[in-house]
Symmetry: C2
Subunit: 480 residues, 2 copies
């Protein structure tokens, strides 16, 4: 027996005890009937079920699990988005899922009621974060950071009535990119628009446009049209509905519900139906009413500069100056923008895309990509396994030796956790999971020192010398 005391006096740092816990559910062998976690959950909930007939095993209202299928789509999209952010020199960061309630309150206006509060369990009052913007602002203030280009990908939570069919949930992912600091005008804005174009092109979602406007132009327009200042916010939110409502309905809302004079509404109507490129900016400079408003002129001046930069970036044709873009939120003060996908209704077979959704953001993209894949019947592989190691006879131990060699060479490999499975079962597994290559360790081949490589798609098999196997697999994988 080795005594612990006799070992060289080393410091032992316990590590990883939780990282890889025993594959608890892998021991639920019929022989040994141990209480396993999954069973325990199931059992205790079935018990609960008997006591409370309405109890079911579920995720909380408005939330869902992300299955391996979802995760594959997300990972692909987020990789593209994050690599774009990195290409533009952004740093990553993260903040806690919850903040002091005080940090969040009064930041979201009437939406504050949608925050998830944590129970008072003694100590601080906390709420789950509602977006990534206020935590970033808190981070900047707390660390006295004046300048920072950062991206932040993370979950946020809102207690909204979930309309799950349209892909809106109470827990969802946001991808934020912000350039904080004081800089020469329109340069960071131009870069943000460039980033949006790169991401939308990269995702290959189809043709798109980015609408831009400026809050000062919106406010100036309201002023010169004769909207009383007290109605700015209310009218703003009506205007914002123009992407999903016809002008006459929006006009009706402004006049009847919000008490705007009809002639004022009509004046607004002339403006908000305008959209175009830099020539529209020039045209608005000449507009007899708008050109009288100092704020509007400032906004127009910035937009003109912005278009100059966008032209140099080669994306001016993707940008549309759109006077109907209003964005009611308080913290939009200068240039505002919004991307829209251009989609002909004839692009059929697809579920009609919820026009003008407010719940925009990266979840919307996940949803669109998932819908398209569903429509096209595209099958998603949920693993990346490249090679399956199979044995037709009882060469199980050879399988272990060989698969370890593949793993050690960085090859993604799987086998069945059975001592002696049927070859057909193994080949079926490859076909159903999309594994492209199988190596087969046969009795005869073992004697001759060769291994068979089988292409699952073509069903072709070739024998390769055992010592050349890894190199041959790597060659085939690099070619495919």
């Amino acid at each position: 027996m080795h005594l612990l005391g006799l070992l060289p006096r080393r410091a032992w740092a316990s590590l990883l005890s939780q990282l890889l816990r025993p594959p608890w559910a892998s021991c639920t062998g019929a022989v040994r009937c141990q209480s396993q976690v999954a069973e325990a959950v199931l059992t205790s909930q079935l018990k609960a079920h008997q006591e409370k007939p309405n109890f079911i095993i579920k995720t909380p209202k408005g939330t869902r699990d992300l299955s391996p299928q979802h995760m594959v789509v997300r990972e692909k999209i987020l990789d593209l988005v994050i690599s774009c952010f990195k290409r533009h020199g952004a740093k990553g960061m993260d903040t806690p899922a919850f903040e002091l309630k005080e940090t969040l309150t009064e930041k979201y206006g009437e939406d504050s009621g949608l925050m998830y509060d944590l129970k008072d369990q003694g100590g601080e009052l906390l709420s789950l974060r509602y977006d990534l913007t206020v935590p970033f602002a808190r981070y900047l203030a707390m660390n006295k950071v004046k300048k920072m280009k950062r991206y932040h990908v993370g979950k946020v939570w809102r207690r909204e009535s979930p309309t799950i069919v349209q892909g809106r949930y109470r827990e969802f992912c946001q991808c934020d990119f912000d350039i904080a600091g004081q800089f020469d005008p329109m340069i960071p804005d131009a870069e943000c628009l460039k980033i949006m174009c790169e991401i939308l092109s990269g995702l290959q979602l189809g043709d798109f446009l980015i609408k831009v406007n400026d809050r000062r132009i919106v406010d100036g327009m309201f002023a010169v049209c004769g909207v009383p200042e007290s109605k700015f916010r209310a009218i703003c939110s009506s205007i914002d509905k123009l992407d999903k409502m016809a002008w006459k309905d929006v006009r009706h809302e402004m006049v009847v519900k919000k008490g705007l004079a009809p002639e004022v509404a009509d004046r607004i109507g002339d403006y908000v139906q305008c959209h175009g490129g830099v020539s529209l900016v020039e045209q608005m400079f000449q507009d007899p009413r708008l050109s009288q408003n100092k704020q509007a002129l400032e906004g127009l001046g910035d937009l003109k500069l912005l278009f100059e930069y966008l032209t140099l970036f080669g994306i001016a044709d993707k940008i549309s100056f759109d006077l109907s873009l209003a964005r009611g939120l308080d913290y939009y003060t200068g240039v505002i923008y919004e991307a829209v996908l251009l989609q002909t209704p004839t692009q059929a077979g697809e579920e009609p895309l919820n026009v003008g959704s407010v719940a925009a953001g990266v979840e919307r993209i996940f949803y669109i990509v998932e819908q398209r894949m569903k429509t096209k019947g595209e099958k998603v592989r949920t693993t990346e396994t490249q090679v399956f190691v199979a044995t037709p006879q009882k060469n199980f131990l050879e399988r272990l030796k060989l698969i370890a060699e593949l793993w050690n060479s960085g090859i993604k490999a799987e086998m069945l956790y059975k001592n002696n499975p049927k070859l057909l079962t193994q080949l079926h597994y490859c076909e159903s999971t999309g594994i492209p290559l199988v190596v087969i360790i046969g009795e005869q081949e073992l004697k001759e020192g060769v291994i068979k490589i089988r292409s699952v798609a073509s069903r072709e098999e070739v024998a390769i010398k055992r010592e050349n196997l890894v190199a041959e697999i790597q060659k085939r994988l690099s070619e495919s």
Copy 2:
């Protein structure tokens, strides 16, 4: 004016309006003093500060922000961990941050009090997840999945008294890998151990060992030593302290605090000081007392098989059968294991690593790697920018054209958001942020159709034809 109604009747899907919000803080120009979010947060909190003198801008107790420096380390480690999981054919998945309180209660025994409950805001009673195991079990039960190899990386929350110095927080990350299903014995366990070895080797944290034992051997050992069954759990938790307490102190605790007969404690003492390889397994098969216990024999039989597989995987030398490994939790029923770093005390300069930490897991690895980098004075680059675009004179517009070309070629590029910054400022920026290459668009060079490439490290400059610039940069980047 283009009228919206005159456009081809397309369906417009609003998209991304939140993905890339205007770089709000980029407009805080001194000229335009708009209320920005960061300022708003700051202002409202300073106001609060005046009213409540104790209020400070902070993260909730036991939590912290992850700075760009932290994120770089995490990303590197998680990439390695996840790519190992994928190499072994695991699928990714995610579950909501919170679960129905009913799903979580009674799963963690006395730890249930450490759960973060959400406030009852009408509707379901919810709690933040405490680990990733119970949500996985709920997922399996809910979807009636019998078999699944999955990994899950995500945050979990526990209201423990935070001892932040040692890298323990109330919000932390877990990386779980589980093989759920019924399989032939010890094959999935062997693969889990292989994965642990691959990850620990890959991270280059230094020499390590993985201790293994089996709950049935632990229970059998207690039985043959004469521990009353009612004391199994309590004695188990004493034994678990052997990695940070000497045997005589553990013995004292068992005898004095837990009322174990001294001769029983001594019998346990003989066993728990044993550790070794497969030969120790054989030795225990011959042990006069242990060989009388059916449970222990089953455990020993499995360990023997496990060692056979580990030998084929080429990792048997990393595994130590250790009778002091006890792991008190209910859901460990078969093989149990735990990784330890072997570290000589002379590996100085490093903070002594918290021996036998219970808060193991991937956060422990983040902490160790961060400590090592700090000790070595390694500087972390928080961006991946490869090229900086500079202009010594007012060739700002050329800068925009050129940087767009780099971005479009997939090159990670930055510039300053100034029309006319000093060249020295630009070069300093590169040095301080570790950008390796600068392209300089000079007046003279513009006329000659060339651009200068400067290596920041060597300060060497060469002129390259404008049209060859991208190719030259890509060549240099691929070589470095």
